[in-house]
Symmetry: C2
Subunit: 235 residues, 2 copies
DNA sequence: GCTACTATTATCCAAACGTATAAAAGAAAG
DNA sequence: CTTTCTTTTATACGTTTGGATAATAGTAGC
């Protein structure tokens, strides 16, 4: 009577990644409630019991999924400027603009992020992950700001990095949740203008002067593609 | 055998509000998963069955809770400047600063907002509610910007309102999720400086020049108190 | 081509979920 | 004081949840 389904054994790492990716997709699409063990297993192409073989509890898988998301975002910030021009103003402009385009700006990305908020607030370990990721991104931004041809002390740099980061976060939020409310490219333009105004540098002009094909403008680094896969086929 | 518990009949509106408040608190504290019908009923001091008497489905209660939240926030923006000085720069400064303080900046407030994101993205009716609320807040901001002693056409006003709103949203997000990362008053200061830089107006100086007791600075309007109740005793 | 290992499936379980329905009790009307 | 109404409680139902355990089948080593 037993029509036992055929299967292939996969390397541990590959299965873990598949389960994590499935969990992320489901959270992104339908919120935390949609990411049940059975739904995750089905999406990953395995049966529910296997989850327990790789993660001792569902919470553990959930934590792993959040860590993976934060790692993606950190890598995004770190590798975005690989091969970018050396000019500090151009580099900052590329960084800001790339942060305000898909796949970063994406309804599902916000859904994914929002789906973990409570776990982050309640679990100290995840809180630390979040904090480290936030700081890393902000520090990257601050380093770019520090390279600008201006005079600025540490306190001012800190405030400017917080403010620039806030502009990016806010536009990311609005553009992701209400995409039809903004014209294509409008968020990038507003972001460049606003961060430029905060720092006293004309980022919009610097961006316009860049040749196409520069990293972050057209060709996305591999890491961005992986992030795009995570939140693929946006609404 | 039946120790039937005693109860008091309450007016319909009061019960609805109690159930909505209970649902909001639970979402704010523990995410959407924590807001089960039984937990909501217990928090509201009634038994689970009563929910069905006031809301034909749990989803309907959930929608009502989101609408109520958005109404609170809209009212916050609308009444914040009641009794404020007529000087446009001061009014804008008060508006920005008040948006970057508790009870607006609050971990539970972010949790509450995040807990509804997926419902908002999937339910067209809630999406419309969200859009209207966002636009109303932004329009309020844009009207304040338009009153500034400057020359600016409509397109520029729109961009500036989007950008200023983004600064507020971003700082709200960061300050709420990672409160220990910022000194008291730091977010307000950064918000005033940044929005000021974007608009070319010195909001920080205007804020510093205000006497204490001005609406939005110390005495919070009643509506803010109601919002504070919703997200009370923050982490 | 066995044998041993373990990744994977299959099945089961108790708890919790949203919902439906019936019984009881508070409050107002006569 | 009785009657009527409807808010509220109580109970039950079918489903789904996360987790545990036992059986099976791929795969690598000899």
């Amino acid at each position: 009577m037993a029509d036992r389904r055929t299967y292939r054994r996969e390397p541990e790492e590959k299965r873990r990644e598949a389960l994590i990716a499935a969990a992320q997709e489901l959270v992104a699409e339908g919120g935390p409630k949609a990411a049940t063990v059975r739904a995750i297993a089905e999406r990953a192409g395995v049966t529910a019991g296997l989850i327990r073989h790789y993660f001792s509890t569902k919470d553990e898988l959930s934590q792993a999924a959040y860590r993976a998301l934060m790692d993606h975002m950190t890598d995004f910030g770190a590798h975005l400027l690989d091969g970018a021009p050396a000019d500090p103003v151009s580099r900052l402009a590329i960084f800001v603009a790339a942060s305000l385009r898909p796949p970063v700006v994406d309804g599902k990305a916000v859904g994914l992020w929002a789906g973990f908020i409570h776990q982050v607030r309640s679990d100290p370990a995840l809180r630390a992950v979040h904090e480290a990721s936030y700081l890393r991104f902000r520090d990257t931004l601050q380093a770019l700001i520090a390279d600008l041809p201006r005079d600025a002390d540490a306190a001012r740099l800190r405030r400017e990095a917080i403010a620039s980061n806030a502009v990016i976060d806010g536009l990311w939020l609005e553009g992701s949740v209400l995409p039809e409310m903004f014209a294509p490219g409008e968020l990038e333009q507003i972001g460049l203008t606003s961060v430029g105004a905060i720092l006293g540098v004309d980022l919009a002009a610097a961006m316009a002067a860049l040749p196409t094909g520069v990293p972050g403008t057209i060709a996305a680094p591999a890491i961005v593609q992986r992030l795009a896969d995570t939140v693929k086929d946006s609404a």
